[in-house]
């Protein structure tokens, strides 16, 4: 399915591109005809000009944000999987942790950002911890659901062959959970960028979020748009990388271990 999509030469999605181009054109026309002030809504052209002019500093800040978000994403995926595995293997820890995890899932976690500044101060540590915090939940909850989705008849077969709980986990539950892990990781990829950007709004002196705040203070709206465009590209890149990893895992999984 997605394997063949990858194997086939990539075909450009013409229709969505057409819609995108149409929106840009309409935006440009609207700004020109209605004479919207640049501060409210800059034209696509001036955003592009700003992208070009600020390219060096955009790149520097993009590196900071991209690095923080990717790092936080990786930590969140690993820690989320470990958390789910621990809850799967220990009924006691599951009873203790799972309801709290669900509760946290329901909270507007972004609102807790200022607390991280209180605890860890302004800068990378609080920003990083905050990004991990907001992106760990989808991985943990998704992985746990996947580990629990193992086929009971396969588990029984494993037990009949003399398999221990741990072996059932390793040979049946873990492979079963893989699609769930990737689904959680995709959500986590976007959450990591949300966390990193919001963290930069409130607690940083570098990064695209910080740049947006600076541009806003100077009423440099084209630069805000330019920074947001870069952010979109970064987010899409991480999401795409997770998708590629999923395809690779799906192709390799099982042919030979």
């Amino acid at each position: 399915m997605s394997v063949s999509a990858l194997a086939a030469p990539a075909r450009l999605p013409w229709l969505p591109l057409l819609v995108g181009a149409g929106v840009l054109l309409a935006w440009d026309l609207a700004v020109r005809l209605a004479q919207v002030p640049q501060v409210l809504l800059p034209s696509p052209g001036s955003v592009a000009a700003s992208l070009w002019q600020a390219a060096p500093s955009l790149a520097r800040h993009a590196l900071a944000t991209g690095g923080a978000a990717t790092g936080a994403f990786l930590v969140a995926v690993l820690a989320g999987m470990v958390l789910a595995a621990v809850m799967m293997l220990s009924p006691l820890l599951n009873r203790l942790l799972y309801p709290n995890l669900l509760l946290f899932q329901l909270l507007p976690k972004v609102a807790l950002g200022p607390l991280f500044v209180v605890w860890l101060g302004i800068g990378l540590p609080s920003l990083f911890a905050f990004a991990v915090f907001v992106s760990i939940f989808p991985v943990a909850v998704g992985t746990l659901a996947g580990l629990r989705a193992a086929d009971p008849s396969q588990l029984r077969m494993c037990r009949a062959a003399g398999g221990s709980e741990w072996q059932a986990f390793r040979y049946i539950r873990l492979p079963t959970s893989m699609p769930y892990v990737f689904a959680g990781a995709k959500v986590a990829a976007t959450m990591a960028f949300t966390g990193a950007t919001v963290g930069e709004f409130i607690s940083a002196n570098a990064g695209l979020g910080y740049m947006v705040m600076q541009a806003q203070a100077r009423s440099d709206t084209p630069l805000i748009f330019a920074a947001l465009a870069v952010l979109c590209v970064l987010g899409a890149a991480l999401y795409g990388a997770v998708g590629l990893a999923e395809d690779a895992a799906r192709r390799r999984w099982g042919t030979r271990r």
Binding site: S153, R159, A161, W253, G254
Partner: protein, 261 residues
């Protein structure tokens, strides 16, 4: 028991075995005082209607369920959990979809931490015997239902167990494939000295494959009737077309009908 070397001669023995599940509000009595033994090399079919508790009997033999009464002995020793020398086949093939046919067949070796090289040859031979040669690298979803059960047979046999337990292994297959699988099993069986318990609700299958047929009552399951199948081995599928075969099947059908009345 007059047979002196019972310890050596019996693969498995049920001694007044009973099983009650602690369901609510009423506990479920699944098996009632079942006693029988399977000799080494003997093929015993357990015949009974669906839901009579015969699968529970088999799950106890597999060490997956514990009897609530009586004693269950494997090779003269009380059975504690799954036994290393027992192979099990279930209603579904229960192959792992992310593993190749070969890796599925080798799964029991993986679980028992036996080096792959040590059982690879046996695995390949079994795969060839059941007619899956060339499909070692295929994934389960690429196989038909019958081919999947063939792989499951190989998996049950790969560690060369002395007892095979089969829980209606062909019941999920269509009639033609079902007959075909019976032939594969029959063919495989003539060359081994393994004991087997084969749970089925097909009289034809039971008579064709087994040395002895135990007819179970309705739940709670107990042995209602025992029949020694009078046909010598080696048997061929053609046996099922003979008049004598038909007579035995008819007799058993009468026993079951009388039992259920």
């Amino acid at each position: 028991m007059p047979e002196a070397p019972a310890l050596i001669a019996e693969a498995i023995r049920f001694d007044a075995v009973g099983k009650t599940f602690p369901t609510r509000p009423v506990p479920l009595r699944a098996v009632e005082s079942v006693s029988f033994a399977v000799r080494r090399g003997e093929f015993v079919a357990i015949l009974g209607p669906s839901g009579c508790g015969k699968s529970t009997l088999l799950m106890m033999a597999a060490g997956l369920e514990t009897p609530t009464e009586g004693r269950l002995e494997r090779g003269g020793v009380k059975l504690h959990g799954p036994h290393r020398q027992t192979g099990v086949m279930f209603q579904d093939a229960t192959l792992l979809p992310w593993l190749s046919v070969l890796d599925n067949v080798l799964f029991p070796a993986t679980i028992r931490r036996i080096p792959r090289a040590q059982v690879l040859e046996a695995a390949m031979r079994l795969i060839e015997t059941v007619g899956l040669k060339g499909f070692e690298g295929a994934r389960p979803h690429e196989l038909s239902g019958g081919m999947r059960q063939r792989a499951a047979i190989c998996r049950a046999l790969v560690l060369d167990p002395d007892l095979i337990l089969m829980d209606e292994p062909f019941s999920a297959l269509d009639a033609i494939t079902r007959d075909e699988m019976g032939d594969v099993l029959l063919d495989l069986w003539q060359h081994t000295q393994k004991s087997a318990i084969f749970v089925t609700h097909s009289i034809r299958e039971a008579v064709l494959l087994a040395d002895r047929v135990l007819v179970m009552s309705r739940r709670p399951a107990t042995v209602a009737e025992e029949l020694v199948v009078p046909f010598p081995r080696p048997r061929t599928p053609a046996l099922a077309d003979s008049a004598e075969f038909g007579a035995v099947v008819a007799h058993l059908r009468g026993v079951i009908a009388g039992n259920m009345a």
